[in-house]
Symmetry: D2
Subunit: 246 residues, 4 copies
Amino acid sequence: MQKRNATCAVIGAGDFIGAEICKRFAAEGFTVFAGRRNGEKLAPLGEEIEAAGGTFFGRTLDARKEEDATAFLNEADSHAPLEVCIFNVGANVNFPILETTDRVFRKVWEMACWAGFIAGRESARLMLARGGGNIFFTGATASLRGGSGYAAFASAKFGLRGVAQAMARELGPMNIHVAHLIIDSGVDTAWVRQRTEQRIGKDALDANPDLLMPPASVAGAYWQLYQQPKSAWTFEMEIRPFGEKW
Amino acid sequence: MQKRNATCAVIGAGDFIGAEICKRFAAEGFTVFAGRRNGEKLAPLGEEIEAAGGTFFGRTLDARKEEDATAFLNEADSHAPLEVCIFNVGANVNFPILETTDRVFRKVWEMACWAGFIAGRESARLMLARGGGNIFFTGATASLRGGSGYAAFASAKFGLRGVAQAMARELGPMNIHVAHLIIDSGVDTAWVRQRTEQRIGKDALDANPDLLMPPASVAGAYWQLYQQPKSAWTFEMEIRPFGEKW
Amino acid sequence: MQKRNATCAVIGAGDFIGAEICKRFAAEGFTVFAGRRNGEKLAPLGEEIEAAGGTFFGRTLDARKEEDATAFLNEADSHAPLEVCIFNVGANVNFPILETTDRVFRKVWEMACWAGFIAGRESARLMLARGGGNIFFTGATASLRGGSGYAAFASAKFGLRGVAQAMARELGPMNIHVAHLIIDSGVDTAWVRQRTEQRIGKDALDANPDLLMPPASVAGAYWQLYQQPKSAWTFEMEIRPFGEKW
Amino acid sequence: MQKRNATCAVIGAGDFIGAEICKRFAAEGFTVFAGRRNGEKLAPLGEEIEAAGGTFFGRTLDARKEEDATAFLNEADSHAPLEVCIFNVGANVNFPILETTDRVFRKVWEMACWAGFIAGRESARLMLARGGGNIFFTGATASLRGGSGYAAFASAKFGLRGVAQAMARELGPMNIHVAHLIIDSGVDTAWVRQRTEQRIGKDALDANPDLLMPPASVAGAYWQLYQQPKSAWTFEMEIRPFGEKW
């Protein structure tokens, strides 16, 4: 592995997508700074990455807190220039509108939209000082479609997409690649796998190993976005497994 | 004027669009409840509506405060069944991303998205008890496009659209017409008129009186949405003046 | 009925939507010129309209033939100024891609897109000479979504939407209102009614008379578009029944 | 270079984008079959590719002629399994609607939409027999936006997108990756370069070498699409240079 003098910050480094993003960018030589609510849960991931020769720092981070997010990014940038920030905080909930409490609506927005704004703005501040960078946001089906019961989640994801678009238009000419990756399917986690087995049967799922999106494929899509030359940047890219209905 | 046993609540009853919506629905026989930050500013509007035979109640309302919004809607519904709620709070600001403060981002969201969610949910609660109703949201160009400098405003308007879509899909089958009206232009206010005169000249503007959208035309569009039969409801409708570039 | 010195041309005047458009605009005082493949089938519609005091001319028209379409519109305009042209030719088919023959693909395009271009362009020519007018196109779910099996139909409807958008942007400033009405549901015809009864049962359908979109509601939506002031024109409007899944 | 037992067919192999796609896929070991109106113009490209160790066949092809397109694809597939087909025929024209002749409208559609349908369908036929493949279509700004004067071009590009969507939804589950690449900018050709120099000055352009999209970047985007695992396919991806207004 060829080490780079560059940091990739992953905000919302959960067990699935976030962890795979960390592994991928570490394997490509980035110093990876990962933040999640309970930073101690990042220990095994850190061990795995370091065993493979990568450099990893796991941090406890509540991304909704501006000062904490800023400090996290500053630390990452002071270790090596912040070249990539990936905002991957999720907050998928479904409630009928009358049961969508103030608390839920506000919390989902703070996690999925507000924290993304903070992460994006503070990354941009650091990257502009360095002359460029990459800011990527994880989107979902609900970024484009407000389904029944998704008032809170869709509103937050729509809102995050608005932030991403505005940043892309402003920051592209300043050499910052802002992208919004729409994951238009479930991702292969224990829970989704179980639900899918119940729906189509274990045999059908085993026979079609690519029916669910492996978290590593999301990381692969982010790697594609990173590799794009500045002469042909993608702002929005959607991904789904080959068998997905859409 | 034939009076109806029905109330129309207008949240965000500003001097232009909001006032015209009030006048139109009052002229069609609705009891109109109007809320805005400084309710005392509604006095002249109330006098005008009452002089024309309409029924109007102006209230001071901070639509971001759940209890206040709920109380406002409950009062409206207790006066006569709440049949229409129009959420028309605006919050258009433009800042480079690095100058978009936490305070601005949060405040714009609270005004343009959060308050819309509260208004929508509480209207739905009252209307479901009555068997139906109409909940309309004012959108803007920024509901569909996050332009440079509009991270805060576009994020909030995208988010409001997400709320509206989710509510429309859930509540349509329960006999509530949820619609999102996208105003894809400036609206004819003193400020916009002045700016347009500077751009194209007073003569050109005088020669094309429909070049700017009169607030009454927005009210007319809402009236069209209200009149639609439930067999052919519109969720999203865009309006712009004939000469607008888009 | 107050007669107008104005003509409304309906191209694709089938038994359901087209007929209701004719009836509505005739009832509003327009001289209606209706064209369809077998013009003799328009006789009963003409009788009904004339019995109600309206003015109606039914013509045999293959809208794909430029000279015929032009002659039809010229005749309409020479009778009274052509103020409205509504293009309503449908061509809904579903075939797997490998079974979508050249003949089908081309024919569907000629009916649903090419003929719309001709109707739009020739109406514009007449209306520009008169200083203004209204050109409306009937869209469908497939105008926005290319579903499996709909390569031919969606391609044609996407293409018609492209024509409509380009015309709206060019002709709006010249005082021609171009609109695209998206019918996002089945319309209540004998065939759709039968299929829906099989799906949800006759009782459920009888209990919800607005579950299917009556052709008259489509005509009503066109009438709303016609009534809009030029200060607030809609280009695209979607309609669906209250219970429709979308 | 590691040769593959696989063919990539490029339909619309012009001097810029098409040529670069040919070079890229040849460099990756594909046998490349290229078709364009005047096949003799492909000779220098063939020499360049073969000098670099690639395998290339240039053919004269009018992609609007079904039998010719079918024969071209069959020949490609008989040489080695057809694994990729890229449809890249352009037909950008701009005319006011009244000056958009029947001939132009039909010809643009035949080149940009009809020929794409034929190429897609016949590729699918061959690929389904082999168990999978990749069918990619070149889109443009006009695939999503019907600008003034673009009735013909936008209609054709909208229509091609409809074909691509319908094919993607039907063929994805059958292991064929269908994608639509939207090039949302001018591409760096002699003509665009000259026009841009006139607009911003030669110095500004020289100082920003990535301001125009090099044709090779389009080829790179197609190569990214090809490399995606079937668990995370993109249907639609947009690309534009970092400084592009959008």
